[in-house]
Structures are given as C-alpha cells and as structure tokens.
C-alpha cells in the first residue's frame, strides 16, 4: 500500500507547500483529504502521482520507494491513478469510447481487452449508453463520469479523486457516492475535497491538512467533532456532526439514516 514519510515540497519560488507529511493509505478503504485552499492538497496529490518530485521524503508503494525515472513512474501509474477536478482538462478525444480507451491503449493492450475494460468502466459509472457519443454533447456531470471511467479503465488499485463532487447536482452527487462506495470494496479511494458533508459520509479515515502539515487524522466521527481542529484547518463542520454537537441529536452517518429516522418518528 502507499505510505508517505517526511514528505517536503518546496516550490521554485521558495514556497514551502508540504512540510513533512506522513501518511498511510492502508488506514481505510475510502480516505479523505481535507484542507483549506493553499493547504497543500493539490501539491500532495501531484507528488503521490509522481508528477512533482518531492524535495525531501519518501513515497513507498508496497514497500518499494517511488523513483522518478520513466520506468518506475510507468509502473506506479498502473497501480495508482488520479481523476482531476476539471473534466475538460483530461478528456482529449471527441468520442467517449476513445477517451476511456486512452489509458489501456497506451499500455499496448490488445483491442479486445481494451473494449472489455472500456465497457466495464463506463458501466460502473453508468455511462454505457453514451459510449459512442461525442463528448461535447455531454453535460458537466456526465463528463466528470467519463473522466472517472477514463481512469478506471486502467484498473488501478488506488484511485485519487480531486474535488469529485464539485459542480455536481444533488442527484449526481448521490450517484457519485454510490460509485465511490462500490470502488472502495476492492480498491483504495483517496478523495480530496472541500465538501465536508461529502467527505464525512463517504470516508472511513480522514487526514486534515493545514499549512502544508497534517494537523489531524482519524475516523470521521472523531475528526469532524473536533471543533478546535476544524477551526485551525479553516474548515467547517459537516451538518450531521453539528446536529449532534450543537443540538444533542444522535450522530448519524449519512442523510439516508436521517430520512429513515424521520419516517420512524412520523409513524
């Protein structure tokens, strides 16, 4: 699994974006990464992908250190991959099928395998019926799903998602939770987001980033009830946590449980 030890990243202009980060991605199957703008989230994700080379520190995958030579990175990216926030920056072909096939084709897979993978990935994100369609006919949410499929088709063991819920309507957001839930059964998903409610409901372990350092970590039930920690991180408390802390209501894990309770109460 992925471990990060003592990660430091200093930009060319001297900005110390990451200040000695330690992380262990085997602590959960859906891991959340939260932090204010400028806390170092994007930098951290890019170093995990090998796009940025750390100034100090070590990233290990299954015990082996991630080196920045082409071969290492190629192997690394078969196991770890990332969905970026903006779908338009990661969809290159005009046809959905071709774009999702980009990764597998670059791995020189036979066309039969490529087709199987593309169909499987599009199925997972519920975009199968758009397989032959031009990308510019898709809505924002649909494009986001195609972007996810484009990474899934490479079948990575670890999937990083940068702000996956941003710009999505409520229905799409729910659908995304379902997708992440399904993926986390066999893979590790790392979700970076500002959407506290989303992270709270979807993740089973959370890292809190503040000013380039990990200032807190743990189960969502612990991290999100820590007012001091959230304030220091310049973040907010998820609503379900607030209901519990401020109004004494039970700590529900997701909105589904709240609806269920609501129905019981009205009976």
């Amino acid at each position: 699994m992925i471990k990060v030890e003592g990660l430091v990243y200093i930009y060319e202009d001297g900005t110390r974006a990451l200040n000695g980060i330690d992380m262990d991605l085997s602590k959960g199957s859906t891991i959340g990464l939260i932090g204010a703008n400028g806390s170092g989230k994007s930098t951290l994700l890019l170093t995990l992908m090998g796009v940025l080379k750390p100034t100090k520190g070590v990233i290990t995958l299954g015990g082996l250190e991630l080196k920045t030579n082409k071969e290492s990175l190629r192997e690394h990216r078969k196991i770890v991959n990332m969905v970026f926030q903006d779908p338009d920056r990661q969809i290159f072909y005009s046809r959905v099928f071709d774009d999702v096939a980009f990764g597998p084709r670059n791995l020189d897979m036979p066309e039969g395998d490529v087709r199987r993978r593309v169909e499987g990935s599009l199925n997972l994100v519920r975009m199968s019926e758009h397989m032959e369609r031009p990308v510019h006919f898709l809505s924002y949410g649909q494009k986001k799903r195609v972007a996810i499929a484009g990474v899934l088709s490479m079948d990575p063991q670890v999937i990083i998602m940068d702000e996956p819920s941003s710009g999505l309507d409520p229905e799409m957001r729910e659908s995304l939770k379902g997708i992440i839930d399904l993926l986390s059964k066999e893979k590790t998903v790392l979700v970076s987001s500002h959407d506290m409610d989303f992270i709270y409901e979807v993740c089973d372990y959370v890292y809190v980033l503040g000013n380039g350092s990990i200032i807190g970590e743990g189960a969502p039930e612990r991290v999100f009830l820590d007012r001091g920690l959230l304030t220091r991180a310049k973040l907010d408390m998820p609503w379900l946590a607030r209901l519990h802390l401020d109004l004494g209501l039970p700590l529900w894990k997701n909105s589904g449980q709240v609806s269920k309770k609501g129905m019981e109460v009205s009976e």
């Binding site: 202009d13 992908m49 991959n81 970026f84 338009d88 920056r89 990661q90 072909y93 670059n106």
Partner: protein, 227 residues
C-alpha cells in the same frame, strides 16, 4: 507564473521607470551594432550581465539557464562563419578531408568573433529588459506613443493568453502523462496532437465566455489603459 515573468515583477529594478530600462536596452543594442570592436561588445555583455545579477538581484543560476538557450544558436552560427571549405589550403589552420580543406582564416575568425560578441551584447540587452521589466509596464509606457492601438491591444491580449494556454496545456499534459500518454515517442506525438486540438477547442470556448463577460461589462471595442 512563468519564472521570467515572476522575476520581471519582483526584481530589484522592477520599479525603475520602464522608459529608462528600454533605453538601456536599445542603447546597448545600437552601440553593439555601430562598434566593430569585439572587446567593447564583451564589455557591454559583461556589464549587462552584472546589472542583471547584482543590481536586479536575479539568481545567477537562473540567469545562466536563460542565456544558455540562445547560446546553442550562437555557437552554431560561430562555427558556420569561422569554418570554410576549399579545394586549396588558404587557411591559417586547417584539416584535410578528402579532396577538400576545412579551416579557419584570420579574417573569418575576426568576423566570427565580431558577430558572436555583437549577438551576445544584443542578447544581454534583451534579456536585461525581459528580466527586469514586466510586459505590463512596457505596454503602459508605449501606449502613450503614436503606435497603432490595435497592435498594442493584440500584444496585451496575447500576453494574457499565453498564461492561460500554458496553464491549460500543463494540466492537459499532466492528465495525459499519468495515463501513459507520453510513455514513448510515438505515443507522445499522438498525445501532443490531441493536446493541441483540445487547447484549440478550449480557446474557442473561452473566447465565447469572454465575449459574454465583456459585453456584460459594456465593452465597446476599445481596451482602455487609463493614464
């Protein structure tokens, strides 16, 4: 932000009137053109290099990297001017290759030195300007002169667009890279062509958004720069 641009905004000479810096640049170039002396050109080059590193405070290693870019061309040019091929050995130093002699004469060496030193001096002047003066401040200065406004508007918009394109291109390249799009040269070529196509599509889309936003802000065909 591009490093060159960042230095242009944050160096120690950034607040000096752009007119002065542009005059230094133009003056140095004119001097190097008029003088036929490679020693003087060397002096011009050295003084401007010192101005960049000591006066403007721009890191030595970075300067070196910037100068390295045109050095390749200078070197090729130098070799081209200095070396001659002839069936007879008219050279001061030469090598025989088959029926021909390849060599250097005193005259060609002189010409080579003048050309290289002149180019180096002119280069240092241009790099001095580029590293110490932001495009922004230069355009504001030039705005007041009788130059067709259309040209300046194009310059301003191009300048802004460069950063937008670079940002988009970098993001697209990264996304391609992690999906093995640049694992070998053939894949890289294809990915680059996809990137260019994608950039073009994005440009058109951005243009449309920009027009809407400009019209909302009552754009009437003029980019005003203020006084």
């Amino acid at each position: 932000m591009l490093p060159i641009d960042r230095h242009a905004y944050t160096n120690k000479l950034a607040h000096l009137d752009p007119g002065i810096k542009m005059s230094i640049c133009a003056g140095a170039i004119a001097l190097s053109m008029l003088l036929d002396n490679h020693m003087m050109n060397g002096v011009i080059f050295l003084s401007l290099f010192l101005a960049i590193t000591l006066m403007a405070g721009i890191p030595f290693m970075f300067c070196l990297k910037v100068f390295l870019v045109p050095t390749g061309f200078l070197l090729m040019g130098f070799i081209g001017i200095v070396l001659g091929i002839s069936p007879t050995d008219n050279f001061e130093w030469s090598l025989q290759l088959g029926p021909y002699f390849v060599g250097i004469t005193g005259e060609s060496l002189d010409r080579g030195l003048i050309t290289v030193s002149r180019s180096a001096a002119a280069l240092s002047a241009t790099i001095f300007l580029a590293l110490t003066t932001s495009a922004d401040s230069m355009m504001r200065k030039v705005w007041k002169y009788p130059i067709p406004k259309v040209l300046l508007e194009i310059a301003i918009l191009t300048y802004r667009s460069i950063f937008i394109f670079l940002e988009e291109a970098l993001a697209i390249h990264r996304a391609q890279e992690i999906r093995h799009g640049h694992d070998d040269i053939m894949k890289s070529y294809r990915s680059w062509s996809l990137l260019v196509k994608q950039l073009f599509v994005r440009v058109m889309s951005r243009y449309q958004h920009m027009v809407v936003s400009m019209e909302c802000r009552n754009y009437n065909g003029q980019f005003k720069m203020g006084d």
